[in-house]
């Protein structure tokens, strides 16, 4: 037992610092490794050309486009639905057994393995609703997967808006809905954007949900409509890493790097927007 308070303080600090270092280090190493291995492959042609010779040459343009389509489609479905239901749950629903059960179910949904969502999407959207393997089916599947993230973060954002703001607004004769729209939502926006960032990252990066619902093995043309199949970066990466022999290592890492950059730059945009809002409304 160490008696000296000063020594114990130092020890606690060292342990906490080391733990953080251990957490951060792998992230940095992964980044450095992928950039180091992949940046040779990055070129204008790589980003804008169709894949050639069974994906062993050419670019990854259709996979980039496909992933962007899927992210966009996911947000179109998931963002309004998630935010609106979060508003209902946080602001309107009475705190009773049913509401608590719904909230618990939503939290648990976030823990469902993504391949289960993939199978669900295959059953509902691809087969039952006859969308076929398509951008529509893939987006809907991804949307259902990210809904719990959006709902949970939106609810946290709404709950963090001080109760006094609502009271003042109501006491000024503003209706409840107008209070939510004009007072609560603007102040919750940064938090909602955080949820969106997480949702985008997840939707862009997941392989399993798109495996059965949209992703094409090899499709060297761009999708023409939302009912088309499309290539997508995570699945493409899986394919060229495990399914096609004799592919140059740098093409694999180049693809991984592009996926990483898309996710990071989408996040960066959202973070900048969020910072802008935070600067305007701070309390």
């Amino acid at each position: 037992m160490i008696k000296n308070a000063y020594t114990r303080e130092k020890l606690a600090f060292s342990i906490l610092f080391l733990s953080t270092l251990v957490v951060v280090l792998p992230v940095i190493l992964i980044l450095i490794y992928i950039i180091y291995q992949g940046w040779h492959a990055i070129s204008w042609d790589f980003l804008t050309q169709m894949p050639k010779r069974g994906m062993r040459e050419g670019g990854i343009f259709p996979a980039i486009v496909g992933t962007l389509w899927l992210v966009l489609g996911t947000l179109i479905f998931a963002l309004p639905l998630g935010v609106l239901s979060a508003i209902y749950l946080s602001e309107y629903a009475k705190d009773n057994f049913l509401t608590r059960a719904v909230k618990l179910a939503i939290i648990n949904l976030a823990g469902v393995p993504s391949v289960v969502y993939g199978l669900f999407g295959l059953g509902i959207f691809v087969i039952f609703l006859k969308f076929g393997a398509s951008i529509l089916a893939g987006s809907l599947t991804l949307a259902i997967m990210v809904l719990p993230i959006i709902i949970t973060t939106t609810r946290e954002a709404l709950d963090s808006v001080p109760q006094s703001f609502r009271q003042v607004s109501l006491s000024l004769g503003v209706s409840k809905w107008e209070t939510i729209r004009r007072v609560v939502l603007p102040h919750a926006l940064p938090g909602i954007l955080t949820g969106m960032i997480l949702a985008v990252s997840r939707a862009a990066g997941e392989t399993a949900p798109i495996l059965f619902t949209v992703a094409a093995f090899y499709l060297p043309r761009l999708p023409k409509s939302i009912f088309d199949q499309a290539m997508a970066l995570p699945y493409h990466l899986y394919v060229i890493s495990t399914q096609v022999p004799n592919i140059k290592l740098e093409i694999r890492y180049g693809t991984a790097l592009v996926l990483l950059m898309i996710v990071l730059s989408l996040n960066l945009v959202a973070i900048l927007v969020r910072a802008q809002f935070r600067k305007k409304r701070k309390w």
Partner: protein, 251 residues
């Protein structure tokens, strides 16, 4: 006598706890009425009956009649939006929105769309003049309201009410977060405002009640013990309990 707020046999329950017992009170128009009493005796609860802010809490039950301009505000079908436009409220802690001074004052105007854009400047000036902030803030209308002193913030909160054109201002211990000088300023302001508004103020500061109010109501454990002109009540209280409270024997 011209009562604007009247309650008749008002009982209020939080779940099974009865917070107000059989309260019948007439509050006079264009006067300052103070509600005094020890903490937890139902002062704020009574105040929040008048604009139905108690409705926000779950499990609140109100019995009896509450009439504003002779209309029962607890009748089914009462428009809370209209009621709260008529009965404005100032809270204990100054609570401006984290927006600019101008946006705070114009908050209700923009939502209720009660004025055209070109009138905004006039409304802003009138409202800020009414609370003596115009000369200090006319060049700082775009600064965040949170940069103001607490006294200025509380004045701004009063100014924010005025464009709604209320008849009644409810003030829930409006000076408890302020220092004595700021308190004196707000009290002066209340005196100016009473020309145009009926003011009901909750305070546990007896001196404040004596200084500002025309009539005082003494509330103890949810009962209305005494209600009279402030002068009478503070010089010759009728009830022994009022006398003891005013003499500082408890509370």
């Amino acid at each position: 006598m011209n009562p604007i707020i009247q309650t008749r046999n008002l009982n209020l329950f939080y779940g099974t706890f009865q917070a107000l017992h059989d309260i019948s009170i007439d509050i006079e128009s264009k006067m300052i009425t103070s509600i005094i009493g020890p903490s937890g005796c139902g002062k704020s609860t009574l105040l929040r009956v008048f604009n139905r802010m108690n409705d926000l809490l779950e499990d609140v039950k109100v019995e009896g009649g509450v009439f504003i301009d002779a209309k029962n505000i607890y009748e089914p079908g009462v428009d809370l939006v209209e009621l709260r436009k008529k009965v404005g409220m100032v809270f204990q802690r100054p609570n401006p929105f984290p927006l600019s001074v101008a946006e705070n004052v114009l908050f209700s105007v923009k939502i209720h769309r009660t004025a055209a854009f070109k009138e905004y400047g006039d409304i802003l000036e009138q409202s800020l003049r009414a609370v003596d902030l115009w000369d200090i803030l006319k060049d700082k209308l775009k600064t965040s309201a949170l940069n103001l002193t607490l006294e200025q913030q509380q004045r701004l909160c009063i100014a924010r009410l005025l464009p709604v054109k209320p008849d009644i201002l409810l003030m829930d211990e409006p000076c408890s977060a302020l220092d004595p000088i700021a308190t004196a300023h707000i009290e002066e302001l209340m005196d100016q405002l009473k020309v145009n508004y009926t003011i009901v103020i909750v305070t546990h500061n007896m001196q404040q009640a004596a200084r500002v109010s025309d009539r005082s109501a003494y509330l103890y454990l949810g009962d209305l013990i005494e209600y009279d002109s402030t002068e009478k009540m503070f010089t010759i209280p009728k009830d022994r309990r009022t006398e003891e409270y005013l003499a500082g024997k408890f509370g």
